[in-house]
């Protein structure tokens, strides 16, 4: 309890006007919260807030840390459940979520969301509904994935509320309905932007029902006319848009921008266009340069600033910017509604933009920081603009370097006179009008019709306007085409604005009763134009009209400022209006300043509010009301350090309080303008209505502010890209410089390369000449070498010939030697035999002689015997003895003869065995011969096949040649090519010959050899016939080199040959040749031996052997001429007749002859 009481005390202390106390208490609470985890304190705080609307408590609640979020949500859920606390709870929820606490993702799971949805579905209070819908719309981009569960709830809410807009169940005030309508439009926008497929299918199903058709026609369709086709409708699907992954990469502000993109609303869409779609063209440096804003760089900067103005700074800054900016409108029509401020533009720099884009997002922690570049910038601009002026009028409490947000209020505070109620209404009214006509040609209408309306006409005019309250649709249509017309409108606006400016002073003059109306209108229109002189620097450029316009209103406010010291509150109101007016969408309203004099129908402006760009209206309206109600109502407890937003909020609240307080004093503007004018008391209902309207407007303002914060976030990101791009560009430039340097290098290298090339070409030439010289030398040397080679070839061939000759001669020598040896052997044998037979012959001769002598003795003895018969016995005996002796002698002789016979027989046997050996040798020779023959045949076959192949090749070549000739002839080139043809033919023949030679070389060589041997033998033959040995020499000469004439060197060989042959012809053959001629056994054998040989030669055509045998024969044969017949003659009984040469020696040999001679002899 003590603690409770303590808390209660502390709570009450929170609202203490002393700043330090408040801070202390806040710190205490925060400490408590960090230490205490229970829900108690939070619940108390919430309760307290719901009760008192205390700002510090709200501040504490909105900055609650993690563990308390659940308690807060539970508590709020609780409160939402109760009808009584529903509205404040919802507004608290709105405050909390607009600050985007770190635990915002928990919202989707919190029970608060379903209960909020339920409340939206069930509740019938328009204010609750509007607040709830705005909260929901704010919440949706933070928890896009919750669409999966609650999508149909969203749609149902939309369906319900849209039908509400039309059907107006119960006694709902029109004023509220307009707010509701606006929020429904915003909901429509959000749902369509986030879940197009699902939403469209919902629309299709929901509005296909007959009972909903009216709602569709009246409410939904106009909304649909303000959006373009969502790309997701083409590329996405129902499931895809609910996919959490799709949302994961999108931040809250991304979602907001996404939703804004699909709007066709000129203002909304204009920033969207500038926001993303155009940025690539402008290389992201001026992300907000929309297509229609391309007029001047100032505009760009202005845009970038303006769009970044979610923070209080920017809003306050805009007041400044806006004031000078309005005149430029007159001068630069293409700049349209956006203000161009030259000073601002000149000050602009990327760094400044960067600075500007980094303001703290949450208004809570916005202590103005002077060191920040943006603050400096704005400070200077402010210094240029307002601050310069302020000193003149009143001493500003804030120094010049003070942050804008602070400076401006102060400036305004000092400069602006406390406007009166009437003025406020007036000023607000024009604002409303402006907003009303802002989007489009409505402004034109007004310029035409209403622009000229004077104060006297005003009431009627206002009545007209009131009658137009239901022309929302019309407005929207006009808004749709406003883009196209924007240029025209701006052009008109230029005209109108000054007029308005003139009008107001005029009006004031003519109607002194309400002089401040003009002032307030002017001040509302151009809050900062309060200080015209300082602004002149910028205004000079703007044309002559603007200064006037600026001046007129200012004078009075200045005066008024001193009148009413309590103007703080009220001073801020103009500020507020101006704060909001400068934003792109709010500029047009100012055009209408001059026209919207009359009291507008109370809800008229709400149609504008219903459109997304409502905040400014809202504020202006609020200001109006506040000014009306709270004029003179001063609250001094305004904390100087509070941010403008807080100030604003507080202002509104206090305005509401003032309103209730002043209710009794002042009449309120209501539907019936008359009441206000005539001081009639308005019904109490009206008061409530107005209060609620205020609440609603506040809600919407907060919503719009939230939106702007999202834009600021986005801008910051975009500008980060800008800096990065700039850095990259600089990098590019550096790279380009490097490139240039390198190109220079390359040039230098190229020059040196050329030099080197020239030098190398020179060297090349030198080398070439050297090479050609060397080549010629080489050619010379080669020629020499060839000559030498040829010579050596010649010599070589000669040497070869000689060698061949020598080899042949050696071979022949060998043969001859062997023959000589053989014959010698034979000769020795024969001579031995001869000597034997000679001795035998001699013995026989001797014996024969003895026999003869003994025969004669015997005859003699016989005669003696006959003569001497008497001694016959004696004689007989003697004869007997003699016979015996002789018999014995004969016997021994016989024995001797027998022995001799034995020896000869032995000898014969020996010779026979010899013969057998020879036969065997011969056989072997034959075999070998056959072998060689086979080998030769194999080779011959191979050679033949080669020859055949060559022949075929030649044929093919000939065929080819003929073919080619044929073609040549065909081509008609015959004449030209005739010579060539002949040549080619020759070449072909030559080649053919060569080929033949080549292939048959070995064969013919063989044949030549053979024929050479033949030739060798033949020439001697005739020589032999002639008996001349000399002719052989030439024969042998021919034989050695058949092709060539016998060289002189052959001479010695031939002569030697001659001699040897001569010798053999003279001496040896005779002895050997006697063998065949002899009829002895030996001769017979020898003959047989030779016959075999010759026979075998006859059988086989082995050339070498034949030639050998033939040479043998010719050498051995006595008659070479009959050599061919030799085999035949050998068989014959008689040997050939001996030549005269051989007769002599044969005598010795001829056994029979000698015997015969002996006989004869």
């Amino acid at each position: 309890m003590a603690q409770q009481a303590n808390i209660g005390e502390l709570l009450s202390m929170l609202d203490s006007p002393v700043l330090s106390v408040r801070d202390d208490v806040t710190a205490v609470f925060k400490e408590n919260l960090s230490s205490d985890r229970g829900p108690m304190l939070v619940n108390t705080l919430v309760d307290y807030y719901l009760e008192t609307d205390s700002q510090p408590v709200l501040h504490i609640l909105t900055t609650l840390q993690e563990p308390h979020d659940k308690h807060l949500l539970d508590k709020m859920n609780d409160c939402v459940g109760r009808a009584a606390s529903r509205l404040p709870a919802l507004s608290l929820l709105g405050h909390v979520i607009r600050l985007q606490p770190p635990w915002k993702h928990k919202l989707s799971q919190a029970p608060l969301l379903p209960s909020l949805l339920k409340c939206l579905k069930m509740d019938t209070d328009v204010i609750v509904l509007t607040t709830g819908v705005l909260v929901l719309i704010t919440m949706l981009p933070m928890i896009p994935q919750s669409g999966k569960q609650h999508l149909h709830d969203f749609f149902d809410i939309f369906g319900r509320l849209s039908s509400w807009c039309l059907k107006k169940p119960g006694h709902v005030t029109e004023v509220y309905l307009v707010h509701l309508h606006a929020s429904v439009y915003a909901l429509f926008h959000r749902l369509y932007g986030m879940y197009p497929c699902n939403f469209v299918s919902f629309l299709r199903s929901h509005y296909s029902m007959k009972e909903n058709l009216d709602t569709f026609e009246e409410v939904v369709r106009p909304m649909m006319e303000h959006v373009r086709i969502h790309p997701e409708l083409v590329t996405g699907s129902k499931d895809h848009e609910l996919d959490p992954r799709r949302w994961k990469r999108l931040e809250t502000h991304d979602v907001v921008i996404e939703c804004a993109k699909i709007s066709l609303d000129p203002t909304e869409a204009s920033y969207e266009d500038g926001g993303d779609s155009v940025s690539p063209q402008v290389s992201a440096r001026f992300p907000h340069r929309a297509a229609d804003m391309a007029a001047s760089p100032y505009i760009d900067t202005q845009n970038s600033c303006g769009s970044a103005t979610s923070t209080p700074y920017s809003s306050s800054r805009l007041t400044l910017l806006h004031t000078p900016g309005q005149p430029p409108q007159a001068l630069s029509p293409p700049s349209t509604r956006l203000l161009t401020e030259p000073p601002q533009a000149t000050l602009w720099s990327p760094s400044m933009v960067c600075g500007m884009t980094t303001p703290p997002t949450s208004p809570g922690n916005v202590p103005p920081d002077l060191s920040h570049p943006y603050s400096k910038v704005f400070g200077t601009t402010g210094g240029k603009g307002t601050p310069l002026g302020t000193p003149a009028t009143s001493p500003p409490p804030a120094p010049l370097c003070h942050p804008d947000d602070y400076v401006h209020p102060s400036v305004l505070q000092t400069t602006a006179t406390p406007p009166r109620k009437e003025e406020r209404t007036d000023s607000s009214r024009p604002c409303l009008h402006r907003q009303h006509h802002l989007p489009n040609d409505r402004g034109l209408e007004l310029s035409g019709g209403k622009g000229s309306v004077t104060l006297s006409d005003l009431p009627g005019f206002l009545g007209d306007l009131a009658s137009e309250e239901d022309s929302v649709e019309k407005d929207k249509e006009e808004a749709a085409i406003s883009k196209e017309l924007s240029e025209i409108t701006t052009a008109d606006a230029e005209l109108l604005v000054p007029r308005g400016g003139f009008d107001s002073p005029f009006y004031r003059d003519s109607l002194p009763g309400c002089p401040r109306k003009t002032h307030s209108a002017a001040s509302g229109a151009q809050g900062a134009s309060v200080n015209p002189e300082p602004l002149n620097s910028s205004l000079d450029k703007l044309g002559p009209d603007t200064p006037k316009q600026a001046f007129t209103p200012i004078d009075l406010p200045c005066g008024g400022a001193s009148d009413s010291p309590a103007g703080t509150r009220e001073h801020q109101t103009p500020l507020e209006t101006s704060i909001l007016t400068p934003s792109p969408c709010k500029i047009p309203p100012q055009r209408g300043v001059g026209f919207g004099r009359g009291q507008p129908p109370p809800y008229d402006h709400l149609f504008e509010v219903a459109l997304p760009k409502t905040a400014h209206h809202f504020v202006s309206k609020k200001t109006k009301e506040l000014l009306k109600k709270a004029k003179g109502n001063t609250e001094e407890d305004y904390p100087p350090s509070a941010s403008p937003v807080e100030v604003l909020d507080r202002l509104i609240q206090q305005g509401a309080d003032a309103h209730s307080k002043e209710l009794s004093k002042l009449s309120l503007p209501s539907k019936s303008v008359d009441w206000t004018h005539f001081g009639g008391s308005p019904p109490s209902d009206e008061i409530r209505t107005l209060r609620n309207q205020l609440l609603l407007l506040h809600n919407q303002l907060l919503y719009e502010r939230f939106k702007r914060q999202q834009h600021a976030l986005r801008n910051r990101r975009l500008l980060r890209r800008v800096t990065r791009a700039a850095a990259l560009e600089e990098h590019n430039a550096a790279m380009k410089d490097q490139l240039k340097l390198q190109e220079k290098d390359i040039q230098i290298w190229k020059v040196s390369l050329q030099k080197e090339q020239a030098r190398s070409s020179q060297l090349q030439e030198q080398r070439d000449t050297m090479v050609s010289q060397l080549h010629s030398q080489i050619r010379q040397l080669q020629h020499d070498r060839e000559e030498f080679y040829n010579q050596s070839q010649e010599l070589q061939t000669k040497l070869e010939d000689c060698r061949n000759m020598i080899a042949e001669l050696r071979l022949e020598l060998k043969k001859a030697n062997s023959k000589v040896c053989h014959t010698e052997l034979l000769l020795s044998q024969v001579s031995q035999k001869l000597s034997n037979s000679e001795s035998v012959q001699q013995q026989m001769e001797f014996l024969n002689r003895q026999l003869l002598v003994l025969g004669e003795v015997n005859e003699l003895y016989l005669e003696q015997l006959q003569n001497k018969h008497s001694d016959t016995t004696k004689e007989v005996e003697m004869m007997k003895a003699a016979y015996r002796k002789e018999l014995e002698k004969n016997r021994s002789h016989l024995l001797q003869q027998n022995q001799r016979l034995d020896t000869s027989q032995k000898r014969i046997l020996e010779l026979e065995s010899h013969l057998a050996k020879k036969d065997h040798l011969l056989l072997e020779q034959k075999k070998y011969l056959e072998d060689v023959k086979l080998q030769a045949r194999g080779q011959l076959q191979a050679a033949e096949s080669r020859y055949e192949a060559q022949k075929r090749i030649t044929q093919v070549f000939e065929l080819e040649i003929l073919d080619l000739y044929g073609r040549l002839e065909k081509d008609g080139l015959l004449k030209k090519l005739e010579e060539e043809k002949a040549e080619a033919a020759e070449a072909a023949e030559e080649r053919l010959a060569c080929c033949k030679d080549g292939c048959s070389d070995s064969v013919t060589g063989h044949n030549e050899e053979a024929s050479g041997h033949n030739g060798e033998t033949k020439p001697p033959r005739p020589g032999g016939v002639r008996g001349g040995g000399g002719s052989r020499g030439s024969g042998s000469g021919e034989l050695s080199t058949p092709e060539k004439p016998p060289s002189q060197r052959a001479g010695p060989f031939s002569s030697r040959w001659e001699t040897t042959m001569g010798e053999s012809a003279t001496s040896i053959p005779t002895t050997v040749g006697s063998l065949p001629s002899s009829k002895s056994f030996l001769g017979m054998k020898a003959r047989e031996l030779f016959r075999n040989k010759s026979e075998s030669q006859c059988d086989e055509d082995s050339v070498t052997i034949r030639s050998l045998s033939e040479t043998l024969k010719t050498e051995l044969g006595k008659d070479p001429g009959t050599e061919g017949k030799a085999p035949l003659s050998l068989d014959g009984p008689h040997p050939s007749p001996p030549t005269p040469d051989s007769v002599g020696p044969l005598h010795i040999m001829d056994y029979n002859e000698t015997h015969h001679e002996h006989r004869e002899g």
């Binding site: 072998d931 086979l934 080998q935 045949r937 194999g938 080779q939 076959q941 191979a942 050679a943 096949s945 080669r946 055949e948 192949a949 060559q950 075929r952 090749i953 044929q955 093919v956 070549f957 065929l959 080819e960 073919d963 080929c995 070995s1002």
Partner: protein
């Protein structure tokens, strides 16, 4: 078995070396008596010389063909052999684009097989050339007789199969060309083909008949299962190669059985 045991235990080795009988001297003489293909003469001394000539002849022909642009680097080796052979026979067509004669196809099939067996292109060419020459000259009369002999032996071995073939009228449509003209080139793998061709080169073209018979016997079940002559022919043209070694071995046994052992022993 009995026959095997009766044979000299060395006969297996002898057969591997190419001897039919155990009397190696006689067998050697018979073997070395003549050159079966006529590429090299029997005399060892002239081998180098003759081989050089053969090489030169090969080179000359190849060169000639290149000169007349009949062959190029891109021509497949087998076709080069064919063109060379045609040139040697004087049958070289006027243009390489002329269609091939059936005998050329035979040559190509044999050449392809020989190319697989022999690495050196000169040897390869000469072997192809002489082998084809042998087929064209030595076996000119006997090759056309082979189908009849085939029928006869098949009848002896398996008359049921023969009658099946006859009923399918496949007998006259059997791939005789593949078997006897190409000597199984392209039908059997080269390793098996070598063993068959050894016999053919040695002078027995009858071995072809036995290989054919053995092929039919080996694939008897499949052949019996097929009923149309076309299918049988198609199957026989593309017999599976895995059993070819066994087929050849059996075919040689069959050959021994029907023609007695060595030809040269007779």
């Amino acid at each position: 078995m009995t026959e095997d045991s009766q044979r000299n235990f060395r006969s297996v080795y002898y057969e591997k070396v190419g001897f039919r009988g155990v009397e190696e001297k006689k067998s050697l003489e018979i073997l070395l008596k003549d050159d079966r293909l006529g590429i090299l003469p029997p005399h060892h001394e002239s081998h180098a010389q003759v081989m050089l000539w053969r090489k030169e002849q090969y080179g000359d022909i190849l060169h000639a063909l290149k000169v007349v642009r009949f062959v190029s680097e891109a021509t497949p080796q087998v076709e080069v052999y064919l063109r060379m052979y045609q040139l040697e026979c004087g049958k070289l067509p006027r243009s390489p684009s002329f269609p091939l004669e059936p005998e050329d196809e035979v040559f190509l099939a044999i050449a392809k097989a020989v190319e697989e067996m022999v690495e050196d292109s000169v040897d390869c060419y000469w072997i192809i050339r002489c082998f084809v020459n042998q087929l064209n000259n030595k076996y000119r009369e006997s090759l056309p007789q082979l189908p009849k002999a085939f029928e006869q032996y098949l009848n002896l071995e398996d008359s049921r199969l023969l009658s099946h073939l006859k009923t399918c009228s496949a007998l006259c449509k059997l791939p005789y060309d593949l078997w006897f003209k190409r000597c199984f080139a392209g039908c059997l793998p080269e390793s098996s083909l070598q063993r068959v061709w050894d016999k053919v080169i040695s002078g027995s073209c009858k071995i072809l008949v036995f290989v054919a018979v053995e092929i039919l016997l080996t694939f008897k079940i499949k052949v019996m299962a097929l009923n149309s002559a076309e299918k049988i022919t198609k199957f026989l043209e593309n017999i599976p190669q895995d059993s070819s070694d066994a087929i050849v071995s059996k075919a040689i046994d069959l050959w021994h059985k029907h023609c007695g052992t060595p030809v040269h022993s007779a």
